[in-house]
C-alpha cells in the first residue's frame, strides 16, 4: 500500500525546474491517488481472487491424485470381496466359472494370453516402428517427412473398434495362409505348432498382429521425436569422419535415442496390454493354457472383462473387477517405468518426450 506512494512521491519532490511547478501539484495530487485507489482495490480482490484461483487449480491437481487413488481403492475393495468368495486360487486357476455354484476363477490363462499377445505385438511392432521413425527423421525428403509425421499422428487416432472390425473381418481370413506356412516350416519351434491345422485363425498370434498395427503409430511418434532431437553436430561429426548414413545412425542416433526407444516401446506395451475391443472382436474366449500361439484359443484380461461382463452378476462382476485390478497394476508398472526412464533422460538432455 505504502510503496506506490513512496516511489511516486520522490519524482514529485525532485522536480527543481520552476517552470513545471504548476504541473507538479497536479501530478502529485492526482496520480498517486488514482494509483493508490486502483491498486488497493485490485490487491484486495486480487488477494481473494488469488486465493480462490490457487485453491481451484491446486484442488484440481489433488483431485487427479484422488481419482488415481480411488481407482486403486475401489478396485481393491471389490476384488477382495470377489477373491474371498473364490473357490480356486486366483493366481493359478485357469478357468473362469462365475455362474456355477462353486465359483472358481483365476487369471492364469488370461494373464498368460495377455502377455503372449503383447509379446507378439512388441516383436512385430518395435523393429518396424523404428524403421518408420528412422525413415521419417533421416531418410525421407523433408517435405514428405512432415506429411508422413502428420499421417502417423492421424493413424494413432483411429479408434480401436475399427481395428478390431478390420482384424476380425479382413485379417482373420487372410491369416489362414500365413498360419499354414508357419505351421509347415516352423512347427519344430513348438510355438508355431498347430494342433489342428486349417482352423480359423482366431488365435493369439492374429491378435498380436492386430495389436502390433495398433501400437505402431504410438511407438513411431515418440521415437521420431527423439530421433529428431539428436544433436546435428553429432550426426555431422560422424558423416565428416566418413561414416555412411547407416554408420552415422548406428554411432550417433541410436545411442542418443536408446532410452527414448525403450520408453516408447514400453508405452506401446502398456497400450497393447490394456487393449480390449480389438482383441474381443478377434478372439472367442477360452480358458486353456496353451503355448501354441496359432491355435484358436486363449483370452486376454481386458477381452475377458468385456466379453464376460454382459453375463455376469454380483460376484461375477466383482471377479472381473479383480482381473481389472491386475491389469491396472501391470499397466501402472509398465507406464510408470517408461515415464521414469523418460524423466531421467530429460534431466541431462533437456529433451521433451
Amino acid at each position: 500500500m505504502e510503496t506506490p506512494r513512496d516511489t511516486s512521491a520522490p519524482p514529485g519532490d525532485q522536480q527543481p525546474p520552476q517552470g513545471a511547478h504548476t504541473a507538479t501539484p497536479n501530478l502529485a495530487g492526482s496520480s498517486p491517488q488514482r494509483g493508490r485507489s486502483s491498486l488497493s482495490d485490485s490487491s484486495r480482490t486480487g488477494r481473494r481472487g488469488d486465493a480462490i484461483f490457487k485453491f481451484a487449480s491446486s484442488g484440481s491437481g489433488v483431485l487427479l491424485l484422488v481419482i488415481m487413488a480411488a481407482i486403486a481403492a475401489f478396485l481393491t475393495v471389490r476384488a477382495i470381496s470377489a477373491i474371498s468368495a473364490n473357490h480356486g486360487n486366483f493366481l493359478t486357476t485357469a478357468e473362469w466359472q462365475t455362474q456355477t455354484d462353486p465359483i472358481t476363477f483365476g487369471i492364469a490363462a488370461i494373464a498368460l494370453g495377455t502377455i503372449i499377445s503383447a509379446v507378439v505385438a512388441m516383436a512385430l511392432a518395435v523393429p518396424v516402428a523404428l524403421g518408420i521413425a528412422l525413415f521419417i527423421s533421416h531418410y525421407a525428403p523433408r517435405r514428405i517427412a512432415q506429411a508422413l509425421g502428420y499421417v502417423v499422428d492421424l493413424l494413432a487416432a483411429v479408434p480401436s473398434i475399427v481395428f478390431g472390425l478390420w482384424g476380425a473381418l479382413f485379417l482373420v481370413p487372410h491369416m489362414i495362409g500365413v498360419n499354414a506356412w508357419l505351421n509347415q516350416y516352423f512347427s519344430w519351434t513348438y510355438v508355431f505348432h498347430q494342433n489342428e491345422p486349417g482352423t480359423q485363425p482366431r488365435s493369439l498370434f492374429t491378435v498380436g498382429v492386430v495389436l502390433a498395427i495398433m501400437i505402431l503409430p504410438i511407438i513411431t511418434a515418440v521415437t521420431r521425436e527423439i530421433f529428431l532431437q539428436v544433436p546435428r553436430a553429432h550426426e555431422e561429426a560422424a558423416l565428416a569422419l566418413g561414416a555412411t548414413r547407416w554408420e552415422m545412425i548406428r554411432t550417433a542416433v541410436i545411442p542418443f535415442g536408446r532410452s527414448g526407444i525403450i520408453s516408447a516401446s514400453m508405452l506401446g506395451l502398456g497400450r497393447a496390454l490394456g487393449e480390449t475391443m480389438a482383441v474381443a472382436t478377434v478372439l472367442s474366449p477360452s480358458y486353456v493354457i496353451n503355448f501354441h500361439i496359432l491355435d484358436p484359443a486363449g483370452s486376454t484380461i481386458a477381452q475377458n472383462i468385456a466379453s464376460q461382463f454382459g453375463e455376469s452378476q454380483g460376484t461375477g462382476r466383482d471377479a472381473l473387477i479383480a482381473a481389472g485390478l491386475v491389469l491396472f497394476v501391470i499397466t501402472l508398472l509398465v507406464n510408470g517405468g517408461a515415464r521414469l526412464i523418460i524423466a531421467r533422460r530429460k534431466e541431462y538432455s533437456g529433451a521433451d518426450a
Binding site: 484440481s60 487416432a157 479408434p159 502398456g270
Partner: protein, 355 residues
C-alpha cells in the same frame, strides 16, 4: 579397416570411391518386382501378399549384392539398412491403408440419409435399413458431458503445474500421475466407475456413467497438452503484467490463458477425438440401446463405437454392413476433429514457431 585402405587409393585416379549409379536402386527395384511376379506366377502362389514379400526380399538381396560387389561391405551395409527402412515403411503402410480402405469401401454403401437419421428400433438382425441416429446422439451427449468435466479440471491442473507448483513435491506427484493416468486402460476406467458409481452407489446404467469414465480418460490428455502450451507462453508477458500490479490470477486468466488459447483448444479437441472411439467403458456403463434416448441421465443409451460392436456381434451380413457404416462415421468424426484441431493449431501458432 580393409575398406578404409581401399578407399585411400592414389588421388590421381578419382577423388571419390566407386559408387553405384543413382538409377541403380530403381533398376534393382524393377528387377526384383519382375522376378517376384515371375516366381509368384511360376510357382502359382495364390496370395498376392506372398508375391509382394518375395519381391521385397529379392530387392534387399539384389541391392546388397550389387553394392557389395561395386562399393565394398560398408556401403553394402548402408544400402541394406536403407532398403530395410524402406521395406519397414512400406510394410507398415499396407495394413494401415488396408484398414482405411476397407472401412471406406464397405461403409460408403450403407451410409445414406436414412442411415443417419433413424435408430435401430424394430429392425431385425437380418433386415436391411436401420441406422445410427441414436448412437450419434449418445456419443455427442456423453462426450459433451465428459468434456464439461474434464476440460476445466484438466486446464486448472495444468495451470497449477505451470504457474503455481513449479517443482514442488505435489506438482511432481501430479505430473507423474498424469503420465501414468495416460496409460490407464479404458476398461479399467470403466471398471472403476462400475464399482464406485453402479455397484456401491447403486446408480443405473446411463450415458452419464459412461461420461464419467470418458472424463477420466480425457483428463490426462488435456492436462498434458495444456501444460505444454502454457510453458510456451513467454515469461516476459507474465512479468510485464505482474509489474503493472495485476494480481496473479488475473494475469493467468487475462494474459496467460488467452495467449495459449489456440493450443489449449487444440489439445481439448484432440482429447475429445481420443475418447470418441472408446468402446469398453461405454459397453459396461451405458449398456447400449436400440432406440433413441435423448436423456443421458436416465436409462441406457448407445454410442458410435458401441453400435459398431453390437452390430458386429449380431453376425449377419446386413448387420456387419451396418457395422462398417458405423465405423466409417466414427472414423470421419475422429478425423474431422483431428484435422480441425491441427488446422487451428497451425493457424493460431505464433509465427516462426515450429509447434
Amino acid at each position: 579397416m580393409s575398406s578404409l585402405a581401399t578407399s585411400s587409393r592414389p588421388l590421381g585416379s578419382s577423388l571419390t570411391e566407386r559408387r553405384l549409379p543413382r538409377w541403380m536402386p530403381a533398376a534393382n527395384l524393377v528387377l526384383a518386382v519382375l522376378l517376384g511376379l515371375a516366381i509368384g506366377a511360376g510357382f502359382d502362389l495364390s496370395s498376392k501378399l506372398q508375391w509382394g514379400l518375395i519381391a521385397a526380399i529379392l530387392f534387399v538381396v539384389i541391392q546388397y549384392v550389387t553394392s557389395a560387389v561395386v562399393e565394398g561391405r560398408r556401403h553394402a551395409k548402408n544400402y541394406l539398412a536403407t532398403s530395410l527402412v524402406w521395406v519397414a515403411f512400406l510394410l507398415a503402410l499396407l495394413p494401415l491403408i488396408s484398414v482405411l480402405w476397407m472401412t471406406i469401401s464397405k461403409g460408403i454403401g450403407v451410409i445414406n440419409a436414412n442411415f443417419l437419421t433413424h435408430s435401430m428400433n424394430g429392425i431385425a438382425i437380418n433386415q436391411d435399413g436401420g441406422g445410427l441416429y441414436h448412437a450419434l446422439i449418445g456419443t455427442l451427449e456423453q462426450v459433451a458431458l465428459a468434456s464439461l468435466f474434464a476440460a476445466p479440471v484438466g486446464i486448472l491442473t495444468a495451470v497449477y503445474l505451470v504457474e503455481y507448483g513449479r517443482g514442488n513435491k505435489l506438482s511432481k506427484a501430479v505430473s507423474f500421475f498424469v503420465d501414468v493416468m495416460t496409460g490407464v486402460p479404458s476398461i479399467v476406467a470403466g471398471l472403476f466407475i462400475l464399482s464406485f458409481w453402479i455397484i456401491i452407489l447403486n446408480m443405473p446404467f446411463t450415458g452419464f456413467a459412461g461420461a464419467l469414465a470418458l472424463a477420466i480418460l480425457m483428463l490426462p490428455v488435456v492436462v498434458r497438452s495444456t501444460e505444454e502450451m502454457l510453458k510456451l507462453v513467454p515469461n516476459e508477458l507474465r512479468e510485464a503484467s505482474l509489474a503493472l500490479g495485476v494480481p496473479k490470477w488475473l494475469t493467468i486468466t487475462r494474459v496467460v490463458l488467452p495467449t495459449a488459447l489456440g493450443g489449449i483448444v487444440t489439445g481439448v479437441m484432440l482429447a475429445i477425438a481420443r475418447i470418441v472411439g472408446e468402446t469398453a467403458p461405454i459397453l459396461m456403463l451405458v449398456f447400449g440401446a436400440d432406440t433413441i434416448n435423448m436423456n443421458p441421465f436416465s436409462n441406457p443409451q448407445s454410442s458410435l463405437p458401441l453400435y459398431v460392436w453390437t452390430e458386429y456381434g449380431k453376425g449377419t451380413d446386413q448387420s456387419q454392413a451396418r457395422a462398417w457404416g458405423g465405423a466409417l462415421v466414427l472414423i470421419a468424426v475422429v478425423m474431422i476433429l483431428n484435422l480441425v484441431a491441427r488446422g487451428l493449431a497451425r493457424w493460431k501458432a505464433p509465427k516462426g514457431a515450429t509447434r
